[in-house]
């Protein structure tokens, strides 16, 4: 069974006929006011239809554009599956192996280009030395290297001699 609102909408759209129309019009409390409202609703409807025509004319164009875009996306997606990109597992492994190989080559080159002939680089070096002049006023210090044995010597002369008991553990 139709509600009043449904019947009202159908009456405005001239969808009610026969007995149903008569009964509905009889149920209206103010038929004149209802007719006036029906006319204004019709006017509004025709006005809206006039305004919507250009929009509806463009509908096909937009739908065509949308289809074109979807087709384009669809054609492109198999070549570049989402979430994988350029970094496939195989490429990742190759990149890692290549980077490691470059590192090894560089390391070998650096090791080979080190000057092996410069022996002093491998010898211990004395950077500086000092004795307390108040404690050892006659002390002299000499530094030399015994390159054949790879030994560096700091030779201190003139320190005060000490008795044998200083040799205890």
């Amino acid at each position: 069974m139709k509600t009043f609102e449904e019947k009202w909408t159908a009456w405005i759209d001239d969808q009610l006929t026969g007995r149903e129309l008569e009964e509905f019009e009889a149920s209206l409390p103010d038929k004149a006011a209802a007719q006036e409202e029906k006319q204004s609703a019709k006017k509004l409807g025709s006005l809206l239809r006039e305004q919507m025509v250009p929009v509806l004319n463009n509908a096909d164009f937009f739908s065509h554009q949308l289809r074109e875009r979807l087709d384009h996306e669809g054609r492109r997606s198999p070549a570049h599956p989402a979430g994988t990109g350029w970094w496939t597992i195989r490429r990742l492994l190759w990149s890692g192996a290549t980077a490691l190989a470059i590192f090894v080559v560089c390391a070998v080159m650096v090791i080979r280009t080190k000057p092996a002939s410069d022996q002093s680089e491998y010898l211990t070096q004395i950077l500086n030395y000092r004795v307390d002049p108040a404690l050892s006023p006659n002390a002299t210090i000499t530094m030399f290297e015994k390159k054949d044995e790879h030994v560096t010597v700091l030779w201190v002369d003139g320190l005060r001699s000490l008795p044998p008991e200083y040799a205890t553990k």
Binding site: G83, T84, G85, W86, W87, I89, L92, S95, G96, A99, L100, F103, A107, E121, Y122, L123, T124, Q125, I126, L127, N128, Y129, R130, V131, D132, L135, S136, I141, K146, E149, H150, V151, T152, V153, L154, W155, V156, D157, L159, R160, S161, L162, P163, P164, E165, Y166, A167, T168, K169
Partner: protein, 148 residues
Amino acid sequence: MERRALLLIAILTIALMSSSVATRGEQTVWSGIIIATNSGPPEPTPTELTQIEATLRQLFGYTRLHLIGEARKTLKNGQEDWLATTKYFALRVDSRGQKDGAYVLNLKLLQEDKVLLETDAQLSKASPLVIRGPQIGDGQLVIVLMVQ
């Protein structure tokens, strides 16, 4: 894609770090306080000195090498310090990192509370350092440092 790139960077970083750690390694520095003399009962030369025994004999002219104090320190970060002591002497070593593959050390030879000698040295791994100290009786105080 970003996750894989990050994974690649992480792998390379770990590879580089592990290679640098492998080349560095931990090393032990042995420091000894020795009396070189021609007198006293014969005794075997300390094993640490066998490598430079001939050099020491040739340098100082003594036949016997008697170890009176020693210390052995494993250097992990190159910033350690340690002490080799005898009854009257002490060798204080303060490591100050590495330079050109050698350890930079500050050495102080102390006689009781007096600093007899202070020196900064760059101790190379294949090159021992020998320091001639004061005369003691009829012998000679000798300090030796070497990377083992």
